[in-house]
Symmetry: C2
Amino acid sequence: MSFSPLIRQLIDALRILPGVGQKTAQRMALQLLERDRSGGLRLAQALSKAMEGVGYCRQCRTLTEDDLCPQCADPRRDDSLLCVVQSPVDVFAVEQTGFRGRYFVLKGHLSPLDGLGPEAIGIPELLARVADGAFTEVILATNPTVEGEATAHYIAQMLIPKGLTISRIAHGVPLGGELDLVDGGTLAHALAGRKTIRL
Amino acid sequence: MSFSPLIRQLIDALRILPGVGQKTAQRMALQLLERDRSGGLRLAQALSKAMEGVGYCRQCRTLTEDDLCPQCADPRRDDSLLCVVQSPVDVFAVEQTGFRGRYFVLKGHLSPLDGLGPEAIGIPELLARVADGAFTEVILATNPTVEGEATAHYIAQMLIPKGLTISRIAHGVPLGGELDLVDGGTLAHALAGRKTIRL
């Protein structure tokens, strides 16, 4: 019992942040109180504005406070490419690569055991988006996990009959690091997906 | 440019937290938006209440929103012992040890080069507190750094003439770990401060 109630409440509230335990929360609370109260107030405002104001893009369903997210609203993007991802944070990851097509964000992956079927993760909306758009290729960029693969496979089954090119991001060894640290499954994919070198 | 303005502002604001960089701030912002909006709002409220409401204890000068902090307000504590620390977080550390005397919190350590003299860190208030109280011993628990030692030495010089016992927390090898990993200065202190074993 050595912190006053307001400080204790702040420490408890900070612990909802991912990766923040008791000790880190304490350090954060005391540092804000002692060194940066205006920064703390700014954070409080940014939090409440974002929690109350941010919704989902009407078209791609990523997080945004506008009707359309910056990616959907940008007229200079390639309208023939659609990249399907599992969550809004993946949009950011794919953007970093320089991809400049359109996006569609699922709500996670198919998980029948948890009751998450095609409707729950937004497959009907994806089919509607594909039907509306002028896409020639749909890139399936769900996570390289069992569930992500299953989700990609399911979507491919639905879209291939529509005459579109459906692609999956490549599996293989990541850049950097050493071959003996790569797991067997990844290495098997990398071997099976080998490419002929042409000089 | 792939996050909307409100999300970008939230990510920027989260970066004022100690130890939080761009990537962690992104993960925190998206996790709150996707999974725990009510937690995010609770955090916003706790932050603004604490930043606006928390001040300093009238007696020991630790952080609290009340006139007296829980330690000063507790009538069951030992009024003969005063523990002097450098910052509010140290009160918590010393409390963990089971110490149940009184505290006085300095504002950091003496640092003449930064213009921080005895007045700036609150030595006059410490002397007044000692004069008011019924202390028989003052424990100097400033940090075991050059500046912390200098601050402890300065305070000892001021208080010893008043006929009080002035003590400094012991330096030595920490519990656990191995001797060859302890730095030379610490080991020298541990040797110099060795204690006779009595069975």
